[in-house]
Symmetry: C2
Subunit: 217 residues, 2 copies
């Protein structure tokens, strides 16, 4: 399994690295980072640099493509070079996947049309503009396209992919290897469960475009 992980400026690094850590641990699976140019991209907020190893031209036949989200997705969804690449690779992939607002890129490339899809809860309704039916949940599999909800949902989706594509026993082993026995301190991880005041706080901060809880430059 050859996996292409798209990296770009202002991505949310956990969107990419959560699934990366799962997929890289499957025997025989290789993950390659892909982007518009080789070299460093910076995370949303700027405080972490990740490295693109391969240009889009160099990776044309992945078996699985994974598109993480982040504020930079709003810019990239108007980038025809990236959208064309997504359409090209989608012709040959076995799985085309996204995490969080990575789905905006799949949608803008026309790959969600007529499909059920999910994304970050803050932009779930935006799926309609791509001809997709917005669906809640950790991830949604429709044909060969799997879209995951916000950030950490990518970990659940990746384990699901391993179980589907390799073997459930392999997925169990990887889950143990990353000691994924989560124990969140609060029951606030989805808008249905969180205190409505917290939901409103996060919603306002997000529309202000800053870090989660305050407007920023």
């Amino acid at each position: 399994m050859e996996i292409a992980l798209l990296l770009y400026d202002r991505l949310a690094p956990l969107d990419a690295v959560g699934p990366f850590e799962v997929l890289r641990n499957v025997p025989g699976w290789t993950v390659r980072t892909v982007g518009k140019q080789r070299g460093e991209v910076r995370s949303e907020g700027g405080s972490l640099g990740l490295v693109v190893d391969h240009t889009l031209e160099e990776v044309t036949e992945p078996n699985l493509v994974l598109v993480p989200g982040g504020r930079g997705s709003r810019t990239l969804m108007h980038d025809e070079e990236v959208l064309s690449w997504l359409r090209e690779v989608d012709r040959v992939t076995k799985w085309t996947t996204s995490v969080c607002t990575g789905s905006l890129l799949l949608g803008a490339a026309g790959l969600l049309e007529g499909r059920r899809a999910t994304t970050n809860w803050l932009v779930l309704e935006a799926m309609r503009q791509f001809g997709a039916e917005p669906v809640g949940g950790r991830f949604v599999e429709d044909g060969k396209v799997i879209t995951a909800a916000g950030v950490t949902a990518g970990i659940d989706m990746a384990l699901h992919l391993v179980a589907r594509e390799a073997d459930p026993r392999v997925a169990e082993a990887v889950q143990l290897g990353i000691e994924y026995d989560p124990d969140p301190p609060f029951d606030s991880g989805s808008p249905e469960k969180a205190d409505p005041e917290i939901v409103e706080l996060v919603r306002r901060a997000a529309s202000a475009g800053g870090p989660l809880l305050e407007p920023s430059g």
Copy 2:
């Protein structure tokens, strides 16, 4: 809150990026990546590059230091430059923390002596060689030192830190922001819960030094 995130060759990227994604989203908190040299380090297995922005000399007074794990920790635990830096910054930190085998570095620096500590379940007993008492669980707080269990436990620890140090409401908001409402596909995330055959498989693969499930070069 000034946070120093130590990066080094052959780290497990999710150990670093899980907590990074939590901590970077707290208003007023800044995370800086620190390492022996500025520039790229490669993950365990080599397929992901992360960027060190600051040398050890440049970051001497963080409020919080976070040490991720990964196979490279076995090399780094004999690196006197890094151990000295850890001892130096520990004098001024409010919190000294590790994820997974990052605890081997804290231990080798002498910072776990007389403390209760945890780490990846595969090396839990190794805590004794540092004069620490091995304890199970997602993370262990003893004084100002918090050690987290394997890989994904860093996310739980980071949310705990936000609740302790900023405010529980902020931690709830960050948890919602990263949509951390985990739904692991299996109940295999700890050695107590996983099928004993899976535990044995992961144990053997780990001692062979390869990816989780097979020996490698």
